[in-house]
Symmetry: C2
Subunit: 675 residues, 2 copies
């Protein structure tokens, strides 16, 4: 019942929002940075861990290569940033890769990007929140071994907050992000000084030796080793997610939008790169060990690690070492990291419905996802996203290492196609430009995008090769499924549109010759009388009051009341051999239609409007069923004549209800859409 969903909506979601109010919430860079940073920077919380974890399979020696792997990731990151600076300049509308791919490579490519991004949004939530709950466990030992259920709870919480609506530009978002940056900065500084002055301690895990897995006896030498390095790199590449977010958020920036967006993008890239290198560097310097299963892979002079040993995330271990003398900082860094991971998940909750509404506008998703004004539209998207993420967390038991295998395939599909689209974009524009200076700029941009394309394509290949069997195939399967569904929906809408197109205007405008009005009488009471007088007010060619004799006595009663009410109209009693309300009316209407097919039959149905859900169970059932049937008979109009019962005033759907008054909470993603 739409009214019920409405009620739920009111409770969960709060009140709609006047777009004017958001009009001037365009973001200054200092706010834009935190809004878009969380996703991009938070990956520093797990990317280094995954690099070390993967390398550790080949034994401790392989850690020596970790800085180089990180460096490779950084190079890719900066390349992608450079490429996207071109994109935001060329496409300030905020369509991002979806728009770029669609306009330059055609709808199929665009749709591929769309499915890829949607899947990746789900994974962003799953990975970030899972990682976040592990950070929680480092500061809150009670949470250990309950990471999965905690993560699921957190996803539900974030979803609820977004259903309720939250202004991303609020300081509630800015503070933790800056806190995280500050924390990491201090850690880098202090750690750096300690290292330079040789006072840097060693991590607790440094005492352990890392045992190589079977097959990696000769470390990173040989094919297996090389492959392992590539896998480490693929996992590390998770640090790149979130860069594309800005390209969808250009409209949110203050003028000059593109320039500010590009600057913010560069800023983010540099910060992210620095953080990644810092963490890897300090991890090396403090001798942090990070492996898949400490109890199998770690050993101390031959002995396995003690039973109770719990492996903390890399940043946690580093903070513990660097701030050994000053625990509060350790807690602050860890907490800030956990917090920014949740904000990263929140980013997906903003991006997903935004993309969905663009897709539904283009007819790839149900229409009701488009009407932005109705927050319910977004709710659907939010709920779907939350459920999908929860499912993944549940299946993979919130293990980041396993989830990361599904991750970033989508992002890189989007990167690659986006860049390819940009190359086309420049190629198409170049011929029409004569000014040498401008041509030079274009050529430079094209070169950058070309390089970006080549590199991201390469990375995508590496990711697919190294991760496909480890789980990437799941992500790809989901993308294919989404793609198919969206194509199907688009086809359906197109099909319907064709069916409904007006070929012959004259025919479409032809009027039915006469109007037969039928008033359905179940009892003789106010609603019936209202329906009757409304019907009479429309002055139909013929007017009939009909009642169905489902029960003889009842019908007799109705007839008596009818006469008592002195209605200047005979009451037609339809016999009901099946003691059923619907069929006789249906048959009667059809008989009228048979006699005069060019006439119109208007059936007036008195309806109660009630306040409580349980009242709906007690009323209107037969009316509802009758209506649903009559709809299938051509040439019939169902006119519901509502009677508002006293209780209806209580209803949450009542437009005069305070819940309907204008609120000031934005719908998810509005801020980054610059609305």
């Amino acid at each position: 019942m739409p009214d019920l969903s409405d009620a739920a909506k009111r409770l969960l979601v709060g009140r709609p929002v006047r777009s004017e109010r958001l009009g001037h919430t365009l973001l200054p860079k200092r706010i834009a940075l935190p809004v878009f940073a969380s996703d991009a920077l938070s990956s520093v919380a797990y990317a280094p861990d995954e690099i070390l974890l993967t390398l550790s399979l080949a034994g401790l020696a392989s850690y020596t290569i970790s800085p180089w792997v990180a460096l490779a990731v950084v190079i890719v990151m900066l390349t992608v940033v450079a490429s996207y600076r071109q994109t935001v300049r060329a496409y300030p509308s905020g369509g991002g890769d979806y728009e770029v791919a669609t306009t330059n490579l055609g709808p199929r490519a665009g749709l591929t990007v769309a499915s890829a991004l949607q899947v990746d949004y789900v994974l962003t939530v799953a990975v970030s929140v899972s990682s976040g709950s592990h950070y929680l466990a480092t500061v809150l030992p009670a949470a250990r071994d309950h990471e999965a259920i905690i993560a699921i709870g957190l996803v539900a919480l974030i979803a609820l907050i977004n259903l309720r609506g939250v202004r991303e530009s609020g300081s509630g978002f800015a503070i933790p992000v800056y806190l995280f940056m500050a924390g990491m900065g201090v850690m880098a500084l202090v750690g750096g000084i300690q290292w330079a002055t040789g006072t840097l301690g060693t991590a607790e895990s440094a005492q352990f030796d890392v045992l190589a897995e079977a097959g990696y006896e000769e470390g990173l030498m040989g094919l297996a080793g090389g492959f392992l390095v590539l896998r480490a790199f693929s996992s590390g590449a998770a640090a790149l997610t979130g860069v594309e977010a800005i390209s969808n958020g250009v409209p949110a920036f203050r003028k000059p939008k593109s320039k500010n967006a590009a600057t913010t993008l560069l800023l983010l890239g540099l910060i992210g790169a620095t953080m990644l290198m810092t963490v890897i560097g300090l991890a090396r310097a403090t001798g942090v060990r990070f492996v898949q299963d400490p109890h199998l892979q770690l050993a101390m002079n031959g002995q396995p690690v003690p039973e109770g040993y719990e492996q903390d995330p890399v940043i946690g271990q580093i903070a513990q070492t660097v701030f050994a003398g000053f625990p509060p900082m350790f807690y602050l860094v860890t907490a800030a990291t956990g917090l920014i991971l949740l904000l990263a998940a929140n980013t997906a909750f903003n991006g997903f419905p935004t993309l969905a509404s663009i897709l539904s506008k283009d007819g790839y998703l149900p229409r009701q996802l488009y009407t932005r004004g109705d927050r319910l539209a977004f709710s659907n998207g939010i709920i779907i996203l939350a459920l999908a993420a929860i499912a993944l967390i549940w299946v993979f038991d919130a293990e980041v290492t396993r989830l990361i295998q599904l991750y970033i395939v989508g992002v890189f599909v989007s990167f690659t196609l986006g860049q390819l689209g940009m190359i086309r974009h420049w190629n198409e524009r170049l011929p029409s430009v004569v000014a040498a200076k401008e041509r030079g700029a274009m050529k430079r941009s094209r070169a950058i995008n070309a390089f970006g394309f080549a590199l991201t394509a390469l990375v995508l290949a590496v990711v697919l090769i190294t991760k496909f069997t480890h789980g990437a195939w799941i992500a790809i399967g989901l993308m294919a499924l989404l793609f198919a569904v969206m194509v199907f929906i688009r086809r359906h809408y197109q099909h319907v549109a064709d069916e409904l197109e007006i070929e012959d205007v004259a025919a479409a405008r032809a009027l039915p010759s006469r109007v037969h009005a039928l008033v359905l009488v179940s009892k003789v009471h106010k609603p019936t009388m209202r329906a009757l007088s409304y019907a009479r007010a429309t002055r139909p060619s013929t007017l009939q009051a009909i009642t169905v004799a489902v029960d003889r006595d009842a019908a007799e009663q109705v007839r008596r009341d009818w006469d008592a009410a002195e209605v200047p109209l005979p009451l037609t009693v339809l016999d009901s051999p099946y003691r059923d309300l619907t069929r006789p009316v249906l048959e009667y209407v059809k008989s009228i239609r048979r006699e005069s097919p060019r006439d119109l039959v208007v059936v007036y149905v008195p309806e109660y409007v009630v306040g409580h859900w349980w009242e709906r169970v007690l009323h209107n059932q037969s009316a509802l069923r009758l209506k649903s049937r009559l709809l299938y008979t051509p040439g019939v109009v169902m006119a519901s004549v509502p009677w508002q019962l006293a209780s209806s005033a209580r209803s949450l759907v009542n437009p005069d209800d305070p819940g309907e008054r204008l609120g000031d909470l934005p719908a998810p993603g509005m801020v980054r859409r610059g609305e």
Copy 2:
């Protein structure tokens, strides 16, 4: 969505049924007996077991008293039968105790009976099916220890069959009942002869000694012992359930209805009584042991029973002994017993919806339970009954002994109030009768009912005292709840009726002065044009086409198409600051109402009629929401102008669909209602 439930209905339930067809299915006694027998006779399958089981707590010696307990049950049974013979004569309409109590003791009493019976219907299903699945386990060892899940499956199966509709008068019902009777008869005969000739063997369990529970050291002597005997009796009284069924089924009998019903009733009573005595007698003669937990209560010269020992139901054990030389008979008797237990459960599925439809006619239950022609009405009752029974089976792990503690409280509440009502009935009629002969008959009837009342009241007291703490309180709690709910529903309907009553006929018949027609335009296509011409056909005082500018470009497109279609009518574009469809229309309608409150506003909404459930997700959402809102504004009529998409032809709701054609399957309970 009603259409969906319709679709489901069609699939599960099949096609409606013409009452004429059932008109001449009035039951001859030979069919009536099996129809009503299953419930009454099946209790022989567990009543004796419960008597022995309860007595066994006081040790083996206490078994000697079992025939006397059974005899007491038989006496009550015959008394009840005698009493009900009066009821069916006085109330041939089939209202049963509910009618008797309501007419003679007032609605409260009637409602008490109704709640009691409804709860007991649930327990009939739970107990019978649980017991049935234990019989299954005796012939099918694989089923052992899975009784609960099997029972649940069986309940679901029976429910499905009844949703589909099944003619109770069919031989599919008669055969197993007669088979059961025959089987029991043969067993009684053969067993009797064997016993007379001293060739009767001893049951397998006869070798065991029954250990008395703590507190019953001195057997049945003392208070505890006496109490135990009463408890045994209460459990044995379960044999009386099903007698009242006939009093509800009088209309189903051939003329002279009452006489035939009375005869069938007597027949049933005698057969039931004989069976009960036979089973108890043979159990004694073959030395059957039946206890709650064999491994605790049974012993062989000091040693507990072997691990693998499984305790079969009493009838099973007897059959095994009597037909030791001829296994097929054993299987036949056990199978027939299991089968009749399922039929007994089926009886409840017929009685429950019947009672529900009577109650809904009196306004105690939602109206849609009344319209019998619509099998969906019964489906609700069937599903509720099934779920409730499944819940009980689940909670009590299909243990008959535990379920039986909740049982028959309801039946005896109904018995007692029914008989009390009958006494009143006779007292009221006596004064008006002069003919001595008739007075004599009446006085006799009254005497019988009076005795019946006294005895059933006594039994009810015993049952309550001995079983309350063992679980009867649950049954009573459920009855109270049902009672409260039904009173509440009745009040609500009354309240609404008062609110809707016509005080001032003239005012009720006043016509709105003018009619403003609004046609909602989302796109310019066939459905819109149809809505437009239909609206024009009703010649309203004013006609306006309105569209909401949720999206600027889209609105512009609509305007262009509008001009292209050369509609002789301006298109009003409503601005939507919240990018929402509903609010602007709502505000606009209200503004019209404000200007001229006595006018009528008719909003024409073009609607798609689709065939698949998923199409509903893709269409009409905003229309639905708009309608649900507009209903709350007085003076507004919502006119749905349906456009049947090609796919709608496929729909199961389509009245031209074969699924809608007349079928010949009766709704549950129709046969016993004599329809």
